[in-house]
Amino acid sequence: MRPRSRFSRRYGHLWFVLPGLVVFATFLIYPMAKAFQLSFIDWSGLGASNGFVGLANYREALTSPALYLAAWHNVILFVAILIIQHTLGLFLAVQLNARPRFMEVYRTILFLPVILSLVATGFIWTLMLSPNIGILNPLLEAVGLGFLAGSWLDDPRFALACIVVVQAWNHIGWAVVLYLSGLQNVPQELREAAQIDGANAWQRFWAVVFPLLAPSFTALTVITFIQNIRVFDVVYVLTGPVGAPAGRTDVLGTLVYRTAFGAAGATTADVRLSYAVTLAVIMFVAMLVCISLLVRVLRRREIEA
């Protein structure tokens, strides 16, 4: 055995951490610190900065209706997708857990959209929903609901609902596989014991099985939260960087992007890099607070269960 100095015995393991830490610090921690710094200056991103402005960016952001409207759309998306995941997703997982024939085929198909990029998903649904060449409208006409047909993505009443549908289509696979793996971990003896005690199928599920799915419930809720607060690609592809029509689908992701890089119809005065970074910092802090609350509540629920 090679002799090792006291120092290397105590700190030797850190050599393994060092290369990764350098990359992590340079491309994640430093840009974050830089983001905080940028949020205190006034800079359009081009040319010279107008110098330190203190909390002015924050004051402007926190009093701007655009921020709250975008955040509100993120919340609507999150709640809608959450409900779909925990009902339809759970339901489909329960069906798969009964191990029907072709179970693997069904699972492979239902998880497939998760693999597709959100850009591809956006195009798939642009085609489906298009008033000219889509198939949703003729489908509605075929079942006698022709009066509902419309140009879905341009209609302020339906545009956000379209985003929900597309986002749900892309993400339902997560709910299916997460709940399925949770269901497969429920010991069969527990269900049998409950059956002997006279519980019917419905009672067995809600009293015995569902509480044991708490880890799946937690994981799904947290990833749904992150996915829908960060959402950008789907909205960008379906309704563009201004959250058309009339800002009805504007979310935090598009708001930040538009503020930093502009969009059709924007003037150079609208493009303000340091203000965009401030919006992103606010988004990060809000997410951090919500996630820690969410995890605390959900973990407590897991322990009680």
Binding site: M1, R2, R10, G12, H13, L14, V17, P19, G20, L21, V23, F27, L28, P31, M32, A35, G45, Q95, L96, Y106, R107, T108, I109, L110, F111, L112, V114, I115, L116, S117, L118, V119, F123, I124, L127, N132, I133, I135, W169, W174, V177, L178, P215, S216, L220, I223, I226, I229, R230, F232, V237, L252, V256, Y257, L273, V277, V281, M283, F284, M287
Partner: protein, 275 residues
């Protein structure tokens, strides 16, 4: 036995319906990618009159798929390998929580998962420009590698901690250094975990849109999703070409998934449950 049969039939009916909801839009896009422009209006809902294979030839050229596909492969492969390897090293270094700083560093890496890309991508632009790598593949590989670390560390560290210690101890008595133990003892036992991390990070790196939209602004370094988007910007009415390019951009990931769906599902679920 009768009710059970009814139940099974109902179950198949429901699962088939759900599968159709997934498959019909995809199939419809594939069919649309073979249509000529007049065909879209003459015959919007059916199969094309004549299958327009030239859509693919055209789109391949016009959307510069050869370039963006190569870029996507290079960037994803390099980032996945670098990120997974660095995460395994970190995991080995931090696996023993009683060592100084191990828990603090572990927490630091994990919390990287909460950082929204919108917040760091703008400062990253400045950092990469200072390093002189803007406009090269490294401008994507370096940030992807860093952003892949939290998930890698989260999955690999606990796995390494549960590996049997006696093997490493035996190697140590035989005079192996820590590096050799990592390479010859730990890495081979870690294979399933490494596969999970590679799939999980590979899928998002392949599909990532926002980061390359900002950082790979030069056409020569664009990846597939951004390339498709900028192609659509210029040819917004050439529906057949657009869908042909979408199909080509999506096919590699779908083929890999169908070939290894079990590994994909297991890998992705492992990451999500941990997270």
């Amino acid at each position: 036995m009768k009710p059970r049969k009814v139940e099974a039939a109902a179950r198949h009916f429901l699962l088939c319906a759900a599968s159709l909801v997934v498959l019909v839009p995809i199939a419809y896009v594939v069919i649309a990618s073979f249509k000529t422009l007049p065909d879209f209006f003459a015959n919007p809902y059916g199969f094309p009159e004549e299958w327009a294979w030239q859509n693919y030839v055209e789109a391949w050229k016009q959307a510069r798929i050869a370039t963006t596909l190569t870029n996507s492969v290079i960037v994803t492969a390099a980032s996945v390998l670098a990120s997974t390897f660095l995460a395994a090293l970190i995991g080995y270094g931090l696996a023993r929580k009683d060592k100084p700083l191990a828990l603090a560093l572990y927490t630091l890496f994990i919390s990287g998962m909460l950082v929204p890309v919108q917040m760091i991508v703008l400062p990253l632009f400045v950092v990469l420009r200072e390093l002189g790598v803007l406009g090269t593949h490294l401008a994507l590989i370096l940030p992807y590698t860093a952003l892949g670390l939290p998930m890698g560390v989260l999955i690999l560290t606990p796995l390494i901690a549960t590996l049997p210690r006696d093997l490493a101890d035996a190697a140590r008595i035989d005079g192996a250094g820590e590096w050799q133990i990592f390479r010859r003892v730990v890495l081979p036992m870690l294979r399933p975990g490494l596969a999970s991390v590679m799939i999980l990070n590979g899928v998002w790196m392949w599909n990532e849109f926002f980061i390359p939209l900002v950082l790979a602004f030069r056409p020569s370094t664009q990846t597939l999703p951004v390339g498709i988007m900028s192609f659509v910007g210029t040819y917004s009415t050439e529906w057949g070409l657009i869908f042909a390019s979408v199909v080509m951009a999506t096919a590699p990931a779908v083929i890999a998934y169908v070939a290894m769906s079990r590994q994909f599902v297991a890998g992705l679920t492992a990451g999500a449950v941990k997270g």
